[in-house]
Amino acid sequence: MVQQPPSEGATQAADETPPPPPTDIDLVIERFPGSFVPSWRYADQMPTVRVLPEHIREAISWLRRECETRYDMLVDVGGSHWPDRDEPFEVTYILHSMSTNARIRVKCAVAPHGGELPVIPSIALIWSAANWPEREIYDMFGVEFTDHPDLRRILTPNDWEGHPLRKDFPLGEEPVEFYRSASSGV
């Protein structure tokens, strides 16, 4: 199920009824060039928009303070790794509006350049709730957040090597007696 941009529905019904007021997704797309709704199934029906990394800080700040809906709670910041995509590292922000109970999901994807870590601007300075989640994403996926006040590893030991939730990081299973005997046919 691909999420259709609401503007298509608006053009079909333009003859009889006035077009519906633009949603926050439309406004974000209009305001921040390069933003779009990804063609992907969002089974939880949460409106989703993807913005360019250079706009993420302004977009979150706009949604929080200027947008009419006022998304005033940062629910979650999470990362994911899609090795097959052009921009493999994706950071997802979920925002909640206390007044309308609306939620919006903002995504941001980056690719690493050369052997360096992928870089996304941090929103921890404009929203303190993002501080530790961004540290966690740095720890788990190796995504660097610029201007983060305290970008250190948070869950793994400081001398840990690698980023565990990357797809190329092995699970690290140790062989167990039971499996060994099963594979040898005993």
């Binding site: 092995p170 690290g172 299973e173 167990v176």
Partner: protein, 195 residues
């Protein structure tokens, strides 16, 4: 001469008979009836005392710690077995109950706590995660605390019921009581810590 407990009870309950066999040597902790004398070895007496006054360390890691607290709380009441004095400091305790999964970040801390405990000391590995990391066979966890500290009793379960931990505790008490208290027992082999 060791006299069975039941016979000793009968002997002390019955009125004095001239020439009746009186128990001469009893387990430490038993009373010798009218004569007021108990004969035993220092080893057994110390073992008896140690077994019945275990001071566990108040040290919980994860889910099992909740059941460990339940064990010491109202319904299960581990003080019936003389092990309710949970101490927060390793320097005052002689039993470490490793309750929960041990991450690689926590492993050096656990070893340090173990080293801080005074001899004699025992370790009870509580639950599947502590014994063999349970369902989590992955990069983050130490696959069994016996790689870090020597373990005396393993209690299975995820998490084990408080009764199971108490059972493990009683088994540990038996081990403590009947073990050699002095000499070679505590010359343990050095433990190699795998990364």
């Amino acid at each position: 001469m060791t006299v069975p407990f039941s016979r000793w009870m009968r002997a002390s309950d019955s009125p004095e008979q001239p020439g009746a066999v009186r128990p001469q040597a009893l387990d430490a902790g038993g009373f010798s009836g009218a004569s007021g004398v108990a004969l035993t070895t220092v080893d057994r007496a110390v073992g008896w005392a140690r077994a019945n006054s275990i001071w566990p360390m108040l040290f919980g890691l994860a889910c099992c710690a909740i059941e460990m607290m339940a064990m010491s709380a109202a319904k299960h009441d581990v003080s019936r077995f003389g092990a309710e004095v949970f101490r927060s400091s390793p320097r005052q305790s002689d039993l470490m109950i490793v309750a929960g999964r041990l991450s690689k970040k926590m492993a050096p801390v656990l070893r340090r706590l173990y080293d801080q405990m005074p001899e004699p000391k025992w370790v009870l590995s509580m639950g599947a995660c502590a014994s063999c990391s349970g369902v989590y066979n992955n990069y983050a966890l130490v696959q069994g605390v016996d790689r870090i500290v020597p373990v005396d009793v393993y209690v299975p379960g995820c998490p084990p019921r408080p009764e199971a931990v108490i059972d493990g505790l009683i088994k540990l008490q038996a081990k403590i009581e009947y073990d050699k208290q002095f000499g070679k027992q505590f010359e343990r082999a050095p433990v190699t810590v795998k990364a």
